[in-house]
Symmetry: C2
Subunit: 478 residues, 2 copies
């Protein structure tokens, strides 16, 4: 039994600043009061304990208030990516069947019961009985994973998953009295959402920043005494590139998720003394599960680190745990790992065996047990019998100073089965120069058969490369 | 499912110093190796999963190794206070029925299967299968507490209780990269034992110090870069008195348990900038459950603070929660709170209702919800850091055929805080004979400093001893 997090936090440290957003500061007590009122208004829409309510909102104080209010009334929150197409939204709504959708504004072309937030806020409200205690096994949120193939699946995260994720992060990164986390990832992704949990569980201030220009973020770190932030690679790269001197001494951690970062970037971080921590995690693990701890940041550059205490990781191949330096599937367990997918018994059974979650990602551990993530399994392809991980080729491309962004996919080939092709964002590189560069760095079979210059790569809200869009581009171009 | 803490810690951060004791340093990897060997040796004594093994040892590296080794083999550890009398030891052994007792040396007058540690260390050993995962609900340790009435009861603490206690402490006190805890409380008390859990769960160094002279402790804090320590009032008072200047800046927390400290002492701490945190906890809560957080240290001087996140506290009277500033019984809940007493279904049912543990302690909350502890279990008092329950001493006295009635109270003492004095009704017993009798039955610290012979004890209509009248008698007699 856990107490209602925000309510208990407001009782314990009412006057601490909880959230700073657009230069407005709000204490835990004020946040609790706003959430109480919102809970009463939502309750007037006849929400019962355990009902699913969908939320389609962009990061804002209102969105945070809605997320907590749904916990107060005991509803399960389905958080929707605001960048989804109408078809994708409709699909998720019909899969999860929430009782209604709360949104920033009416989604005109979505025929589903909707309440824009302005309408919710205008509702009459009466005092209600809130959820005083949270139960570890109760589902709190449903988040759909993009799933590069097939339909997206709804990951069910319990109160226990979120709590233990926050705890595991604190046990690994430490927890300082002056900690202040810069929140610039969307709250509809687990990477952003997990900050809202840490906010109330730690009693730690967060600064919500919606302008993601690298110079703006660097300035916020300086001005707001930020100690930690979590970012995706593309943003981190720009921030570090923009950085003139060094970050303030109290900025102690830049958590870098979303796949292995290239060596050149990590070296630049060492040079500019950027405290970058590579991490590995996914929606199913309620955010990070593996992080490179401070004492190994330089020695093990390029690794994602070791499991957060009390999580565990192993590498499996054909039903057996493999030895060190052998490739296999990354398999994880811990109290932050989900119990299953919503209404997907088969997929749940396939992916969770004896309490261990099979991630579908490929990797290996070195002699000392540090994890190296090779690639999403689905993205890996075989060319003439050789495994090719697109991320590796992308890392090499991105290590070139004149290549701004790069995406690689495997495409059908009558002799080799599949071969790599690359999409590149660059102002002044010529194809020939790229090939010369790659020939020094990569085995021949890994060198892209085609290189396409594009203006921008397709990335989702959390800046993750959408390889399936690259596949569509290829279909048109080939 | 949690990983075997020490084994996982040795995997995650093998080369960090785990323990410093008598100027010897040992890393987590070395500790794990010593524990593995000890587990093999203990296993050769035919210990099975779930067996209870008693430990009667003083703080030492060997004792720490034994405590972890018993977890490796899946045994339940009964930790015995080394200051207990032979009769008290025998009573606990016959109550818990461990399969044997591991001790520093053979306890000559205890007829129970015993293995002195030297003998265990000399055993042949083969490789064994250890407990790779700890289950939250499995009992890890049994610690006896004396009840106000009747016999002591065995508090069962699970792996989950210990884990959540360490987590709750970190969420409240923070967790810094340079944290180093000075361990000077006995590991057979929950206050000391909980440090061994924090040690491996946080991956934090502890410095074990067996010389408790205040000047020595102050010097250790200085020399070993100690950041936190937990002490009993008597020792804290002497340390602060001895302190010439101030503690180093990185010494960030002196946790003070064992009942409310007097204002004069707290004021002295403010003056000398000693970061003293008053706490409240007991064996049943696996150590602290309420702590005064940094921002209120001065404003709320004298309070024990608020519940550690995610624990909860309420004040109950006659089955109802009382309002602010009203006295009542302190009732607590949280994942660190025990599930029950060993083999005491009745006592468990009486004390744990709907998941809330009734502490038997009296207190109130002020307007802002800060807890003030009035009295520990009404009659219990603390003497040199040890809990003394007058009823236990009275029971021993009353067991003598020539003692007709007996009443015990705690009275102020400048060194020990409090000491017991006894009032006795007896026709023909001499003081000397009573002391001889008591020395066989009770730990030294429980033996009354003064014995007064009286004609009759003050009892109410239902024959309940009126201790406050005894207090008045003492005021006249002293």
């Amino acid at each position: 039994m856990l107490p209602n997090w925000l309510k208990q936090r407001a009782f314990l440290t009412p006057n601490r600043t909880a959230i700073e957003i657009s230069n407005q500061k709000i204490t835990f007590q004020q946040l609790h009061e706003q959430v109480m009122e919102m809970a009463e208004k939502i309750s007037s829409l006849e929400v019962k304990m355990g009902d699913i309510v969908a939320v389609h909102m962009k990061n804002s104080l209102e969105m945070i208030v809605v997320i907590h209010a749904l916990k107060y009334v005991g509803a399960v929150t389905l958080l929707m990516n605001v960048r989804l197409s109408e078809e994708e939204i409709t699909w998720q709504l019909h899969d999860a069947k929430p009782i209604f959708l709360i949104s920033d504004y009416i989604l005109e072309r979505i025929s589903y019961k909707q309440y824009p937030i302005a309408e919710v806020k205008n509702r009459e409200h009466d005092s209600i009985t809130i959820q005083e205690n949270f139960h570890e096994d109760d589902v709190d949120t449903i988040l759909y994973t993009s799933g590069t193939t097939g339909h997206p699946k709804g990951v069910m995260l319990t109160y226990g998953n979120h709590y233990h994720s926050a705890v595991a992060s604190a046990l690994n990164l430490g927890l300082y009295q002056d900690d202040c986390w810069l929140a610039c990832l969307p709250f509809f992704h687990v990477s952003g959402l997990s900050l809202l949990m840490k906010n109330v569980i730690y009693g730690m201030k967060i600064v919500v920043q919606n302008n993601h220009q690298p110079d703006v973020l660097n300035q916020v770190i300086q001005d707001k005494q930020i100690t930690i932030t979590s970012v995706v690679f593309k943003v981190a790269k720009e921030m570090v590139k923009e950085l003139a001197g060094v970050y303030p001494a109290n900025f102690r951690c830049m958590l870098l998720g979303g796949g292995p970062a290239p060596m050149t970037f990590l070296n630049e971080c060492v040079e500019k003394r950027v405290p970058v921590y590579q991490t590995y995690g996914m929606t199913e693990t309620a955010s990070q599960i593996v992080t490179l701890s401070p004492e190994y940041a330089i020695e093990k550059i390029g690794s994602s680190g070791k499991a957060l205490f009390p999580c565990q990781v192993k590498i499996m191949k054909e039903g057996k745990e493999v030895g060190r330096n052998e490739e296999g599937e990354i398999v994880v367990t811990g109290p932050n790992v989900m119990n299953g997918y919503y209404n997907r018994e088969e997929a749940t059974k396939e992916n969770i065996i004896d309490g261990w979650f099979y991630t579908g990602d490929m990797g290996y551990m070195d002699d000392e047990g540090f994890l190296y993530v090779l690639d999403r399994r689905k993205d890996m392809f075989i060319s003439g019998g050789e495994n090719i991980y697109p991320a590796q080729i992308e890392n090499v491309l991105l290590s070139h100073p004149h290549i701004e962004d790069a995406g690689v996919i495997g495409v059908g080939h009558e002799i080799w089965g599949k071969v790599p092709v690359a999409f590149i964002v660059s102002n002044n590189m010529k194809e020939e120069a790229i090939y010369t560069f790659l020939q020094e760095k990569l085995a021949n079979y890994k060198i892209p058969r085609n290189i396409f210059f594009v203006e921008k790569l397709p990335r989702n809200a959390s800046k993750k490369l959408l390889r399936r869009v690259l596949q569509e581009w290829w279909e048109e171009l080939k």
